[in-house]
Symmetry: C2
Subunit: 295 residues, 2 copies
């Protein structure tokens, strides 16, 4: 992991600057919503999705300023989804990465609006001219993001998850749920670089396959953390899935088999990007990292 740690830290730092820099400056009473958007975004997250955008873009020599915009869009969307998921009517979480969630720090109405504002802003960033000189590329990014996070993607996955309490889910159900809820945004993050680089179809397929395996490995690792981690380590409540009677990869497979599968998926993800040679080394490293992380 030696080369990954500094690369992740560099990307996280660049992203924190970009995420703060893109947000509009505002006066008047309405600036509270941008303060909440900034609070929700500038939270010391790992910035995994931006890392995937930046590193997939590098495979196709995409100029960094363009890749940063798509990376920021993916992260704004991720942060919006956390803000809305944490609301009392949804998962009702007070704590996120060890800090008060947005509706605790501000209030519920502001948190709803901040999420709406972040989601909207992601599309503005992608659609606007500096993202790519070709409008068709910008429109393609917009559509790829919208499909990944709408009713057939992340939003549908969250709906599925809310209804999954007290349902008896099979492994196939959980896999489909997670592909929608978290996998689709990973896929967008990996494809965004290929879209920006106007990469050939087979390269896009390879990145999509990488993202699918990575996303599933990530989610199994998440279930393991929820099962085994402590609140102090993970920075949010743990053991909630079991308490809610939700089936997870761990409850269905057992912890040992779940861990074995996550590792095997990470290797499979890495193999999909072999074709890109050493340029894809960091993508391979990060697939292994998501399985072994402690938070």
């Amino acid at each position: 992991m030696d080369r990954l740690t500094p690369a992740l830290a560099d990307a996280a730092e660049a992203m924190a600057r970009a995420l703060a820099g893109f947000l509009p400056r505002m006066d008047g009473p309405e600036r509270r919503v941008v303060e909440a958007m900034a609070y929700a975004t500038l939270n010391g997250g790992k910035r995994l999705r931006p890392f995937l955008v930046l590193n997939s873009a590098q495979l196709f020599d995409v100029p960094r300023a363009r890749a940063l915009r798509a990376a920021a869009a993916a992260e704004y969307v991720h942060c919006y989804s956390l803000v809305h998921d944490d609301l009392p009517a949804m998962d009702d979480d007070d704590l996120r990465r060890g800090k008060p969630t947005t509706h605790i720090q501000f209030d519920e109405a502001t948190a709803i609006l901040a999420g709406d504002g972040l989601l909207t802003f992601a599309f503005e960033l992608l659609g606007d001219a500096p993202t790519h000189p070709d409008g068709a590329v910008r429109a393609e990014l917009v559509v790829a993001l919208a499909r990944a996070i709408g009713a057939e993607g992340m939003v549908g996955g969250q709906m599925f998850d809310l209804r999954a309490e007290d349902m008896r889910l099979s492994l196939a159900d959980i896999t489909r749920l997670q592909a929608m809820k978290t996998g689709a945004l990973f896929r967008f993050s990996c494809e965004a670089g290929a879209i920006l680089g106007q990469a050939p179809a087979d390269a896009r397929t390879a990145l999509r396959d990488y993202a699918r395996d990575l996303g599933l490995a990530f989610q199994i690792a998440d279930d393991l953390l929820d099962h085994e981690g402590t609140e102090a380590e993970v920075g949010k409540k743990v053991g909630k899935d079991a308490a809610a009677g939700k089936g997870t990869f761990v409850s269905l497979l057992g912890a040992d088999e779940a861990r074995r599968r996550a590792r095997s998926l990470a290797e499979q993800a890495a193999s999909h990007v072999d074709r890109f040679g050493p340029n894809a080394d960091l993508l391979k490293d990060v697939a292994r990292f998501v399985v072994e992380r402690r938070a």
Copy 2:
């Protein structure tokens, strides 16, 4: 108003079909979110924003199938904003056009997700190829919508409005608040036709000016309805602004002067589209209609 009534009814009917037709068909437990999206959308609304899109597009001979997509995007966004504004943490409304609001009919979590899904879907619709063969036009629509409804537009206006309780607002404050909260989406609706028609800058300016005056007239009329209408007529709670101690156009100007201003703004709106000749007759009619409506 003779020619307006059937034109509004025709457009509303075409929109109801389009709004239902564009939404994705889904199976599985997640289909509940699309059911809520449909419920929030297919509500017998006046479809003013789509009407503006369709009629501004007609000025530039935009093919109807393209205009319908932009019109639907504007209406999905309007409906998402109602769903989120009606939530208990926001305006806490149980009734909308005489029917239970989405969080009453479903539940709060589903309403939050349905709003998120509608917002996301609007961008997918605009960005996707059938909206216009030129990707730059699609990207421009995306950016115009995002700017209209983000932190510097509708979302910021709603934040401003929530903070306006117990603030002493001047007429200038209320005008700015309403320009953000409701005016910006009217402006997008009027500009969308010009963007789709790749209209020259002066035509776009005329439509923007029309939209500004129309939006303000609309809001003053809304305040008058809140002040004078009955719940049965208006289809939602009335008198809420006064109860919340909020300044409105009516509280600052008095009902008679407010009505006079609204009518004068409607005439001013109409004058901005004189340049388009008889093709703009329905746009002129609708500006007068928003002032005289009873709901």
